[in-house]
């Protein structure tokens, strides 16, 4: 969910391919052991979960008050007002308040499934190909029309048959998870009655349920979609996608908040849904306004000046400032659900040499980056995925040892002419896992120079060149990371890093031995937790053996808010719900 469409485009094909490789009869959601299908009709966010680390935990102490407007700062603007057409985290965060799916993640967690518009988690057939959902009754869309099985069918069919011009650039996540039209792994979606929907897959797909928790698979009002010409092949011509007309005309879902207005580049305003179906978890706030702040300093300035009440991510180095300001609070998201690494293209010299890669691993003083740029709010990575991920194990990757790095370079036999490395960094961005890419790049370069490399810097704009060029392997060495969509090993090791396109490895790294592919296939198609454990463990060992890229750290990006903001539940994937949030003032 962190990458924009360019980078993710290529990853798209992989998931399907990988899923197709699975042969097991009863796929289990690989990343969610606790998410076994259950008939217990628990509601989303019934209480603040004990597992959710929450600086706003004092919320529980006092009774929530209703009313008020929360002004929330995000790193960027919404792109389009239809979640099915967007892949960026800002649109998802905003639209996730308004539009709900059949299932969702338990607030504060990264992988615990709960039913939302389904009255319970679905029943899955023994062959893992048929999912049957029973829907909640009496739920209405924000335009007053009924939520029912037909609406679900309409929404999935709409994306399945998306116009060609939208398929790759817009309906990214649908393509990534299922594929389009005849090529789709989704064979059919049918309503057997008003409150029952049956999904049929062509091959088992273990990430089906976790993927559908994303807002991209949310259910929107068919009436409004049709009225707003939402399926226009050119979204710039669709009033629905452009957010025109206000409540009931655009971004029409079933959530605790309703869309009100979007002034591009300036703000998006949502208002409380007074008729929310889950009365126990209705919104406390009257309204939320999301404001884009490209620059974290500007965002913190706005927070300190009282222009905004909540900031999604602040620079970790500002945590002290916020803590020392009694009118503000830092919101610690607890578990990390991201990774930050130094990408190497193993097809390029000298990175084809294992000893050079290891030397780089030993050259980097990762803890010093954490101290300098993360205010300690990160852990040195000892894996290619964060510790909270299912099946994680420590891999004893190289740690800071410049002497060893030098001796590895010496013994590698790589000629000195190849020790000049071209190093790309993104010039205009800060990400939750890399708050200051430029500063980090300089520090890393400094460490590499210290052991005998020389560095030539190059840079690209994040949105335009960096992600796309990096993803197709144009950069020999660069900085990149990933915030999880869900906390499964497949989301990091495969989707993020080392997916295969057929038998070809991700061109970004050009690394993919056959044993790794076999391990991935086994993991995705595993039918038992033990089998999954075994497969993913093997995959991690292979990666540790080859050290194709250099993992650096896993961070816990802090949010900040005015002291009176209460009840907010943070989570490592940064896709948080605001219905529990209230203002104590």
């Amino acid at each position: 969910m962190t990458r924009t469409r360019f980078g993710a485009l290529v990853a798209a094909t992989m998931i399907v391919v990988a899923a197709c490789g699975g042969s097991s009869a009863t796929p289990a959601p690989s990343a969610a052991s606790s998410a076994a299908p259950s008939s217990a009709a628990s509601t989303a966010a019934s209480t603040a979960p004990s597992t959710a680390p929450s600086a706003a935990a004092s919320a529980a102490a006092s009774t929530p008050k209703d009313g008020g407007t929360l002004v929330a700062g995000l790193p960027g603007d919404m792109v389009l007002a239809d979640p099915s057409l967007v892949s960026d985290s800002n649109s998802s965060e905003i639209e996730g308040q308004v539009i709900q799916g059949l299932v969702g993640l338990k607030p504060g967690t990264n992988s615990e499934l709960v039913p939302v518009l389904a009255s319970a988690l679905p029943t899955v057939s023994a062959d893992g190909l048929t999912y049957t959902f029973t829907l909640r009754q009496g739920v209405k869309f924000h335009d007053g029309t009924d939520f029912n099985a037909d609406a679900v069918v309409y929404n999935y069919t709409r994306q399945l048959n998306a116009p060609k011009s939208l398929q790759n650039d817009y309906n990214y996540y649908f393509g990534a998870v299922f594929g389009f039209g005849a090529d789709s792994n989704l064979a059919s979606v049918t309503a057997t009655d008003a409150s029952t929907v049956v999904f049929k897959l062509k091959t088992p797909q273990s990430n089906f349920l976790l993927a559908t928790t994303l807002p991209q698979f949310g259910i929107q009002s068919p009436t409004a979609l049709k009225a707003g010409d939402a399926d226009n092949p050119d979204p710039s011509k669709s009033p629905y996608a452009q957010g025109q007309g206000g409540t009931g005309k655009s971004m029409v879902g079933t959530g605790p908040f309703m869309f009100k207005e979007w002034v591009p580049n300036d703000h998006v305003t949502l208002v409380k849904n007074p008729n929310y179906w889950d009365t126990a978890n209705a919104a406390h706030l009257d309204a939320i306004t999301f404001k884009p702040y490209a620059d974290q300093t500007a965002e913190l300035n706005a927070l300190q000046a009282g222009d905004i009440d909540w900031a999604q991510t602040i620079s970790p180095t500002d945590v002290k400032t916020v803590q020392s300001d009694s009118s503000l609070q830092v919101i610690d998201r607890g578990q990390s659900c991201n990774e930050f690494h130094l990408s190497l293209n193993d097809a390029d010299k000298p990175f084809d040499n294992l000893q050079i890669r290891q030397a780089i691993g030993y050259a980097l003083n990762k803890q010093s980056y954490i101290d300098a740029f993360y205010a300690g709010m990160a852990k040195v990575a000892d894996n290619f995925m964060p510790p909270s991920t299912e099946f994680y194990k420590p891999l004893n990757l190289p740690t800071y040892d410049p002497a060893k790095a030098k001796s590895l370079i010496a013994s590698s036999g790589v000629p000195a002419s190849q020790l000049n490395l071209t190093f790309y960094y993104p010039s205009d961005v800060s990400r939750p896992y890399m708050p200051d890419p430029k500063g980090l790049a300089e520090a890393i370069a400094n460490d590499l120079q210290a052991v005998g490399f020389t560095i030539t810097f190059k840079t690209e704009g994040w949105r335009t060149g960096y992600l796309s060029d990096s993803s197709v392997g144009k950069f020999p060495m660069d900085l990149l990371g990933w915030t999880c969509d869900w906390a499964g090993p497949d989301n990091f090791l495969v989707t993020d890093l080392f997916y295969f396109n057929g038998s070809k490895p991700n061109p970004q790294f050009n690394y993919g031995p056959a044993d790794l592919k076999a391990a991935f296939d086994a993991g995705i198609s595993a039918t038992t937790t033990a089998a999954a454990q075994q497969a993913w463990s093997t995959a991690q060992d292979i990666l540790a053996r080859d050290l194709p890229i250099i993992p650096i750290l896993n961070s816990t990006p802090p949010a900040a808010a005015a002291a009176y903001v209460q009840g907010f539940v943070g989570s490592g994937n940064l896709e948080e719900q605001f219905n529990t949030t209230w203002l104590n003032k």
Binding site: K320, S368, N446
Partner: protein
């Protein structure tokens, strides 16, 4: 009668040999603000030239362990930056970049604008008309936008920045030179030279250009101030030199805004450096104009 005139005659040669430049210099040395400006510039140039001599530190390599030492810490008068490098050293080397970028960009602007202006001013008529419309086209595009466009188009890098800043100044130089030359075409001494059969090229090179030069020198000095500010502006918009280690004041300042609260001095020092050097060139430019323009005697 001849005898009575002798005293005046005897002093006359001395007077003639002083000439415009010596007069100007004499006036300049009496101009307090201009002297202050020159002082700033001398400090600036010395910093640029002597940076490696003055500072024992490496401007590029640092050590995170050493980072964010407050100003006044032993050995670090201005403290250390985010990478643990000595800030004073970075400021000194930054003068180097600013001087280099400023001077080369102004030379580029002079080369481009000067050529256009010289041709237009020397020939007049249709040539002038066409060239000046071209200059109008360039002038109609807001300066920094032109610079951003050029850098975005030609990719980031110091040479591109120099060209971009040079291009924003070129139309100004072209206009000034053209204006001077057109006026000079009708000036008595040029008409006189023409009437005794001086060739057009000789007229241009020998009689007109040296006289037009004064105004160009003033414009170029002022343009140095603008160049330093514009380069910093490009740095602020993220279009500075691609190597983040480059000690460019605008980029140093902008990168430090993330650490405004932790280390405000990392914004303050480059900011002061930019402002002081810009003030230096502005003061000198104003002073030069006043001393080179004999009409300006207030």
């Amino acid at each position: 009668m001849t005898a009575t005139a002798t005293p005046a005659r005897r002093t006359a040669p001395a007077r003639a040999s002083r000439g415009l430049w010596r007069d100007a210099l004499a006036r300049l040395t009496r101009n307090g603000p201009a002297l202050l400006g020159m002082f700033f510039i001398v400090v600036f140039v010395l910093a640029a030239v002597l940076a490696p001599v003055i500072s024992p530190y490496d401007p590029i390599a640092g050590s995170l362990a050493n980072r964010l030492q407050a100003p006044g810490t032993a050995g670090h008068v201005l403290g250390t930056d985010l990478q643990g490098r000595d800030e004073l050293t970075r400021i000194l080397y930054g003068a180097r970049i600013s001087l280099q970028v400023g001077v080369i960009s102004v030379i580029m602007g002079l080369a481009i604008g000067g050529t256009l202006g010289a041709i237009a001013g020397a020939f007049g008529g249709a040539v002038d008309n066409v060239l000046m419309r071209m200059v109008d086209v360039l002038l109609a595009i807001p300066g920094i936008l032109l610079a951003i466009g050029i850098v975005a188009w030609l990719d980031r890098g110091l040479p591109q920045i120099m060209l971009a800043v040079g291009m924003t100044n070129a139309p100004i130089f072209a206009r000034i030179l053209r204006g001077s030359l057109l006026a000079l075409r009708e000036a008595d001494f040029v008409v006189a030279a023409r009437s005794i059969g001086a060739t057009p090229l000789r007229l241009l090179l020998r009689h007109m250009l040296p006289n037009a030069l004064t105004s160009l020198i003033v414009a170029a000095t002022l343009a140095l101030a603008t160049a330093i500010i514009d380069v910093a502006g490009l740095g602020f918009l993220g279009l500075g030199p691609p190597d983040p280690r480059t000690a460019e004041w605008g980029t140093m300042l902008t990168d430090s805004t993330k650490y405004l609260r932790e280390a405000p001095y990392l914004i303050f020092f480059p900011g002061i450096a930019i402002v002081i050097s810009a003030i230096g060139f502005n003061l000198l430019g104003d002073g030069l104009r006043e001393s080179l323009d004999p009409r300006l005697r207030r």
